[in-house]
């Protein structure tokens, strides 16, 4: 997480900050974890202190399979540097998240493509990205 974002988060809610911190610290340590509700058994994303499906606060951090499907896709035609994708990925566990597809030309990325999560290291910290799943396509 960027310095600016972490500073903006801190004074607002210790609980929310704790959620974000857990998620991004896990990423830093090489783990992709999302909350799962102990009461309704559903996963959710972005991480919250209460389940957006049933309102329960009984949540566990679970490592999902990392597999998902591209729900939608745009290519940002950057003014500087290379073009890059912004995608919405539906995880096999249910939740949707924003991410980027890496490891292939941007113009070859398609809606409906099966993808798999990995954690890349960037100048701004760890970033959850997705690459095409060859064996499932």
């Amino acid at each position: 997480m960027t310095e600016a974002l972490s500073q903006a988060q801190r004074p607002q809610s210790a609980a929310v900050d704790a959620c974000d911190r857990h998620y991004f610290e896990a990423l830093t340590q090489g783990r992709f974890e999302i909350p799962k509700c102990r009461d309704c058994q559903k996963f959710h994303f972005f991480p919250r202190v209460c389940c957006p499906h049933c309102g329960s606060q009984a949540l566990d951090w679970i490592t999902p399979s990392g597999k998902g499907t591209i729900y939608s896709l745009t290519i940002v035609r950057a003014r500087e540097g290379g073009d890059y994708t912004v995608v919405l990925v539906d995880l096999d566990e249910g939740p949707r998240l924003m991410s980027r597809v890496v490891g292939m030309p941007v113009d070859n990325v398609r809606i409906g493509m099966q993808v798999e999560a990995r954690i890349d290291t960037t100048d701004e910290g760890p970033l959850l990205v997705f690459a095409a799943t060859k064996e499932r396509s």
Partner: protein, 387 residues
Amino acid sequence: MTKGTSRGSIAILGTGLAGMGHAGGATEQEIIAQASCMAIERSGLKKKDIDGIITSSLTSPWWVMRMAEYLGIRPRFSDSTMFGGSAFIADLKIAQMAIDAGECENVLICYGSTPRSVPSSSRVNQMRAELDPQPYEHPYKAFNPVSSYSLAAARHMYEYGTTRKQLAEVAVAARKWAQLNPDAFSKKPLTVDDVINSKMISDPLTVLDCCLVTDGAGAIVVTSSKRAKELHSKPIYVLGSGFAHWHRQISCMEDLTVTPAQESGQKAFAQAGLTPADVDVVELYDAFTINPILFLEDLGFCKKGEGGAFIERGRIEPGGAFPMNTNGGGLSCVHPGMYSIFLIIEAVTQLRAEANARQVSGAEVALVHGNGGVLSSQATAILSSAL
């Protein structure tokens, strides 16, 4: 059963515009004040009669106090709920609740901004991002708001076969209407090929699929329908209205092809006791070319997935069977950050038969629909020259 607000209980009196296009150095408070004074005067009222004020700002959370102070109003009722661009249509419902409840009589709804003459500094943009943190989207550097609407457009094209050409036709129709409107900013002839071949911003949307960035301010005054006829020769009645929001960030939108316009539209039509077939002229918030296609479907003018085909072959252009965005829209008329106040003002102008070259003949019922955030908040109202 809950009572709720009543059909047609409030009416729009005077309207005002100021600083359209380029405000020539005036500040946003100055052009809002100019539009507001014009709206009050045209309402047959004095400033002292204004006892309610609703406004909001993309930057200042203190906005309603700043504007009331500037105008010299001590309101009995005020509100500054931030719905994004849809706000001023949602404000019709808020004003109606206050007026129906007897909390106030005459409500000024106003907005303006000067992003063309005074572009936001990178420091202000950074501050806005920090005050509305989205740590799960921000790292992916979406070029927002365009990229979020591009994601919706891409999914609509994937599911329903909506074409690049259909998106472009929305922009071309808007330009043709703008050419008939002296207040419109962009009037240069525009073709489908121009739109498709202009600079790609975030696939599939090009720069000409995106709304303008202009200056502009708009204001309206609303009062109870009982008093309206004494104050104005042509009050425009708010027969029904509704708003809805289901998400803030595009990654939290459940179905990118279905917006909360479904809910806001149902509420507005139900209160008005009308159906889409009763509407003569439609003003939809066209921040991006995909928007009207989504809203035509969600508001019930066509079936889900058929919005692209619906607007084809000049149907929404001047002289077409379905007059839409008759001022030229956010795409070609005006778009100072938030736009929905201008939808209301254009609908009122049409319903008063004061739109000159762009007048839709016999327009008696108008639908206005506002959008905010990234398809996040939606607000609909049905307006009419008769109760």
